[in-house]
Amino acid sequence: MGENAIEVHGLGKKFYIGQAEKETDVLKTVMNVVTGPFRRMASLMRNQLPEAADVEFWAMRDVSFEVKRGEVFGVIGRNGAGKSTLLKTLTGISAPSEGVARIYGRIGSLLEVGTGFHPELTGRENVFMNGTLLGMKTAEIRKHFDEIVAFSGVEQFIDTPVKRFSSGMQVRLAFSVAAHLDPEVLLVDEVLSVGDAEFRRRSMGKMQEVTGQGRTVLLVSHNMPSIQNLCNRVMLMDAGRVALIDEPAKAINEYLKRTHSAPTDASVDLRQHEGRIDGSTPTLTRIRILNAAGEEESALPVGGTVKFEVTLDVGEEVIRNAWLVIAVTDTDDVRVTTLRTLNQTAQTLTLQGEQKYVCTWPDCNLAPGEYFLEIRLMTSMKNGKLLDAISRAIAFEVFPSDYFGAGRGMRKGNGLIWVKAQWEFDPTTLAIS
């Protein structure tokens, strides 16, 4: 392992948040406006900021981590988890309340594309202004100017005030400037999601190129495919604290688990299940959802391996010619697929006492979303065919991943499954672009 590029020890940031006063009636509101100046001056005399309430709020606390030179370090977490506060502190935009951080190397930061763009200035002038703000030297910008402009694709308008640009053009020009930064340590916030699809693809490519050059990158993003694709390690933040630091897949998994309001249980007792269909004999006792390693895990990335473990107990009696059915439905009760011992193994089951059956679905290519399992135990013996059936017995979650290896997934509307299709391109496409 190499030396550290970023060292963070016990970093914290405290805010004072005001409590909104309830203004119940007009008279009170007016009185507040009138007495306000005196109250605020009084609080100034007591050496307090007026309006600043006594309620402390730690946007970030006890944050410690190290990033090695050349590492791409991702930071994820839901809104308000302290990611942006961390980034603002590391860039020096706002000072921490406690702790210390050291960054070794020339720093470039990118919290927003196009900061400092002025509508009245031309594209050219803005490139210089924005580039300098991002920490480039004028000479560097001059050297890369043609490249920057070519990458943005706005050559024709470069001497036009940017207020005449479409918003897409502005964003492209701004990103191009940012993409040509050459710092040793790059701090980035959510900038990959700008522009149209084509431009996003190019930005992603540029980002991969940048991260491939042995540069240290700290990347804050909500875009899980890009985190998965670019990062070596990922830190998950929750409520201002470090929840865990791990390899991308694990951190993303944990993140998705936490972001779901009601974390779905990976193991459900079926004996008293309310989804049991009338007329069934309670035979199914437990369903568990497992990951490839056999651990309970109710969320998986697209293309991951999932195992459904069904436990049943038929008692002393032997039941022959039975089969187990696991139907997968989405939230709209559309059946996505059915897993059936009878059809997929060409064997019937013989049941007696407590038994366990495990169905493994490698390369589970369901589109991201929530899915339910309906479990049925059938037999051709006895009078009826149905032994036990439970609808929506358990739920599991599929989350986006870089399934196609292209850096981006698909949207929900693109269908229920993702298919790794092969494409043959007309050779001219490479020649032209």
Binding site: E3, G70, S94, P96, G99, L121
Partner: protein, 316 residues
């Protein structure tokens, strides 16, 4: 420390340490110097956009002091018969208005510059001191243009010296040789003399005094928007406390040096001394007091600004 598996980049000399702000945050002027290109670009940007989409453009830099001069000459010169150290009142007030306008325009721009650029402050790190400095520096262009206008006034007053006839006047204005000699006449009449070489120093002082006050006001304005409301009022009051409409010599003896506590007073008097050779009150002690006041405000303002800087992004 060193590891041969990472050969591509040498151990860097840049180390940035991020800590909670100290009571006396170092000024870090080295960083400011490193970012001088940014300072230059900010200033250039301000100059470029200042008169965008105006018809009169840079002429505004002349119109403002010129019209003010006319009004002042009428109200204070004609009606109130304000003394002007023996100099024609328009010339007297115009020379006073030059540094005053530079100062007050600079203050106006610089005290709001942090709030105006809040977007940038929240999203990017750069030495915040650059903002008020560039806001004041960009006023230099206006100053130079209105300063050039002073040349026109000189010629006018040279031509209007009592012993020149009307016919000669008309002839004179078309003759470059005369214009040149007119300057010499003014020199003779109002003694521009060698004092003028002090002008750059006085201009620097004007810049520093504007910066000194702006550092306080701009940083305060982030937390207390009262500054924005108070500023116009404050500047109007300050104009009366500054020898723009009157000479310091018109003040009672005891108040003259006291008036130097106003940082811009010394500069305004100094300008007259340099440009018109007014010497009724030697600006020496006055200038010294004003300069001291400026430096005290400047240093304290810089430290205050640096300390407040830590919370700009949170408050702005």
């Amino acid at each position: 420390m060193t590891d041969s598996s990472i050969p591509q980049r040498p151990t860097t000399q840049y180390v940035k340490v991020i800590e909670p702000p100290k009571t006396f945050q170092p000024l870090n002027l080295g960083e400011l110097w490193q970012q001088r290109e940014l300072l230059f670009l900010f200033t250039l940007r301000d100059v470029k956009i200042r008169y965008k989409q105006t018809v009169l453009g840079l002429l505004w830099a002349v119109i403002q002091p010129f019209v003010t001069m006319i009004v002042f000459s009428f109200v204070f010169g004609r009606i109130a018969r304000m003394p002007s150290d023996g100099i024609p009142y328009p010339l007297f007030s115009y020379v006073g208005l030059l540094p005053w306008n530079f100062f007050s325009n600079g203050l106006n721009k610089a005290s709001t510059v942090l709030v105006m650029n809040s977007q940038m402050i929240r999203k990017i790190y750069f030495p915040r001191l650059i903002l008020p400095i560039s806001a004041i520096l960009s006023g230099m262009v206006d100053f130079l243009i209105s300063f050039a206008m002073l040349g026109v006034l000189y010629v006018y007053y040279a031509v209007n010296t009592p012993n020149v006839t009307a016919g000669l006047k008309a002839y004179a204005l078309t003759n470059p040789a005369f214009v040149e000699s007119a300057f010499k006449t003014v020199t003779a009449n109002y003694e521009i003399t060698a004092n003028i070489i002090w002008l750059p120093v006085l201009l620097l002082l004007a810049f520093l005094s504007a910066l000194a006050v702006s550092l306080w006001l701009s940083a305060l304005n982030v937390a207390f928007r009262d500054v924005g409301y108070a500023l116009n009022f404050f500047l109007r009051m300050l104009l009366y406390l500054t020898p723009v409409i009157y000479p310091v010599s018109a003040l009672p003896e005891g108040l003259r040096l006291l008036s130097g506590l106003n940082p811009i007073t010394g500069v305004v008097e100094g300008f007259r001394w340099a440009m018109l050779g007014v010497d009724t009150t030697p600006p020496g002690p006055l200038l010294l007091i004003s300069t001291t006041a400026t430096l005290v405000l400047l240093v304290s303002g810089a430290f205050y600004f640096r300390k407040a800087e830590a919370t700009f992004a949170d408050l702005v």
